[in-house]
Subunit: 330 residues, 2 copies
C-alpha cells in the first residue's frame, strides 16, 4: 500500500482542486483537467485558503484541458476522480473521458444525485466504478482562487450492480488503496458499502433546498425558513425523497435517526449554520448555468414511478425548475 | 324602471372606468372614486379607445378621492360598484366605503375570487349585496387612458346567505333595475341566480394561469403552454378547483360542458387567443403590487380543508406566490 498512485482529477473547480491538492500533499501524483481556469492554473497554480489545512499555492503535477490531452503519451491513471456537475439531460457525462484509456482505471464519481453512475458504468465496462458523496465547504471565489472551510469528507463504495468485479479481494484492494491515499492527504475518508443509502440521505437536502431556493425567486436558506409554509414544503419534499429512497434501497436512510425525524433534523441543522446557505443550484440559476435537476429530481421521480410511489411535490418542483431553466438558457 | 339611478363606482381603473362610462351613456348619474389617476381624470376625464363602443372622452358626473368625500353633502347612491382588487389579507376591503351611508344602497362587487362578499356582508347589514363576475378585456395604458376590446359582460346575482332580504319582489327589483341600467349602456348583462357556481368556474382560469405565471418567473400564457409539464400542471390545478367548487356549490360548474372537459377547454381557448395573455396577477407581481392570492387561492384552500378535499397543487402554488410577494413587498 505504500506505492504511489496516479490520479487524474476531472474538474478544477472548488471540489476538484481541494481533492487534487490533498492527494498530492499525501504523496500521490495528480494531474488535473481544467476548463475555464486552465490558463490561470497552468501559469500560477491554485491559491488556496483553507481553515482546515492552511494557506498554500497548489501546482498539480500536470494540467490539461481535456481527457484526450491527458492521455497524449499513452498515460494511464490508477484513479480518475470526476468532480464535474452531472448533466445527463444535456450530454453524456461519461463523454468527459473521451480519448482516454480507462480499462485498468478506477473511476471515482464525486457527484450528487441519483443515477450518476449509470452513464460511466455503461460506457466503460472494463473500469471499476466508485460512487461517492462528499461533504465539503469550498468555493472558487475567482478563477484559480479557492476558499475552503473546515470539512473535507468523502464516503464511498463500489458501484457494480452486474458484479463485474467478481473477486472480493480486488474490490477491497481498490477501496483500501483509495482510502490510504485520501487519509495520507488528511481527507476524512470513509468506505461505506451502503453508499446508495447515503446518496439518498444526502439527496433529502439537495432535492429540497436546492430547487426550492430557485423556484422561490433565488432565496437563501434563511429567507426560505423564515416562512412557515415554505418550511413545511421543504419537510414534505424531504419526506417524499425518504419514502422513495427507503423503498429503493430496502433499508432506512439513517442508522442514527428515525426516518420521520430526518426532515426536521436537517432543517434545524441548516438553521443553526452561522450564515445563510446559497444552494449551488440557485447559484447556477443566477449565473444562467445549467442545473443538475435530472439527477437531483428527475431520476428520483422516475424511480418513484417505477415503484408506484406518489411524489407530487417533487413533480411540482421539477416542473418549475426545468421550466425556469429553459427560459434562462433560451 | 325609467327613473334615473345614481351610481357610485369605486375604483377608476380599467374595469371601473368602462362600467362607469357605459352606465352614464345609458342615462345614469355616475360618480367615481379614483386614487392614483384622480387629478388626471378630474382635469381631462378618461380618454377611452374601445373596439366595441368607439372612441370617447368620458367625464364622470363627479370625481372623488374617497367615500367620505363622495358623501360630503349627505349624498346617497342607489348602486355602489366595487371595482378594486380584493385584498382581505392586507386590509378590510369593505373599509373602502368608510364615511358613506350605504343603508339603502345596493353594493355590487365586481371582483374575482371566492369569499369577496363576506367583508361587505358583515360590515353593512342594511345594504343589499350583489356578487358579480365580469368578462372584459380592458387596460389602463397610462393614467386616465383606457384601451378596451370587444367584450364587456357582467353576470350577477344576489349575495344573501342569511336571507336578510325576505321579499322576493324587493330582490327582483334590485336585480332588474341594475339590469336595465346596464343594458341601456350596452353592457352584456346577465342575472344568474347561481352566481357562486359561475365564480368557481371563472376561478378555474384565475387560480391556475394567474399564480402559475408568477411562480414560473413571470411567464405569459404562450410560454407556459409551450411546456407539456406546465400544461399538465395548469390542468391539475383546474381539476382541484373544480372538485372543491362542485362540492361547495353542490352542482356542476358548467351546464354546457362535462366537468372533466373544463380544463382542456379553457386551455384550448387560451391557446387560440391571437396574443399571449399576461395574467393580471403577473402584472401586479412585476410592478411589485400586492396580489389577490387570498381570494384566488387561500379562501378556496380553506374551503377545501373544511370539506376534507385534498388540494396539494393549490397549496404548493399558494406557498410560492405568497413567499414571492413577501420578498417583493419587503
Amino acid at each position: 500500500m505504500t506505492e504511489s498512485k496516479s490520479f487524474l482529477v476531472v474538474g478544477g473547480g472548488a471540489v476538484g482542486s481541494i481533492f487534487a491538492w490533498r492527494l498530492q500533499e499525501g504523496g500521490s501524483n495528480v494531474a488535473l483537467i481544467c476548463r475555464s481556469n486552465y490558463q490561470t492554473v497552468l501559469d500560477n497554480g491554485f491559491k488556496i485558503k483553507s481553515h482546515q489545512f492552511g494557506t498554500a499555492t497548489f501546482n498539480p503535477n500536470k494540467v490539461y484541458t481535456s481527457a484526450a490531452q491527458a492521455s497524449a503519451q499513452g498515460q494511464k491513471y490508477d484513479y480518475i476522480l470526476i468532480c464535474t456537475k452531472s448533466l445527463p439531460n444535456r450530454y453524456n457525462p461519461a463523454d468527459v473521458l473521451d480519448g482516454l484509456d480507462v480499462a485498468d482505471s478506477t473511476i471515482v464519481l464525486i457527484q450528487n444525485g441519483i443515477g450518476i453512475e449509470d452513464p460511466f458504468y455503461k460506457k466503460f465496462p472494463n473500469a471499476a466504478i466508485i460512487s461517492s458523496i462528499t461533504y465539503i465547504d469550498t468555493k472558487q471565489v475567482e478563477s484559480g482562487v479557492i476558499e475552503h472551510g473546515i470539512s473535507a469528507d468523502l464516503s464511498y463504495g463500489l458501484y457494480d450492480p452486474e458484479n463485474r468485479i467478481s473477486s472480493k479481494h480486488t474490490a477491497d484492494q481498490i477501496l483500501n488503496s483509495l482510502h490510504h491515499c485520501l487519509v495520507q492527504g488528511k481527507i476524512n475518508s470513509k468506505i461505506n458499502h451502503n453508499i446508495q443509502t447515503e446518496r439518498w440521505y444526502k439527496l433529502c437536502w439537495n432535492a429540497s433546498f436546492n430547487p426550492i431556493s430557485v423556484v422561490a425567486g433565488a432565496s437563501n436558506t434563511v429567507q426560505l425558513l423564515s416562512d412557515p409554509k415554505m418550511h413545511a414544503l421543504i419537510a414534505t419534499t424531504m419526506r417524499e425523497i425518504i419514502s422513495v429512497g427507503e423503498a429503493y434501497v430496502g433499508m432506512p436512510l439513517s442508522d442514527k435517526l428515525p426516518s420521520d425525524q430526518i426532515p426536521e433534523s436537517y432543517i434545524s441543522f441548516t438553521k443553526m449554520r452561522p450564515d445563510p446557505v446559497y444552494p449551488s443550484m440557485m447559484v447556477d440559476f443566477i449565473n444562467k448555468r445549467p442545473m443538475e435537476h435530472q439527477v437531483i429530481l428527475k431520476n428520483p421521480i422516475d424511480i418513484a414511478k417505477s415503484l408506484n410511489i406518489k411524489v407530487p411535490t417533487l413533480e411540482f418542483i421539477y416542473t418549475f425548475v426545468s421550466f425556469l431553466e429553459n427560459k434562462h438558457l433560451q
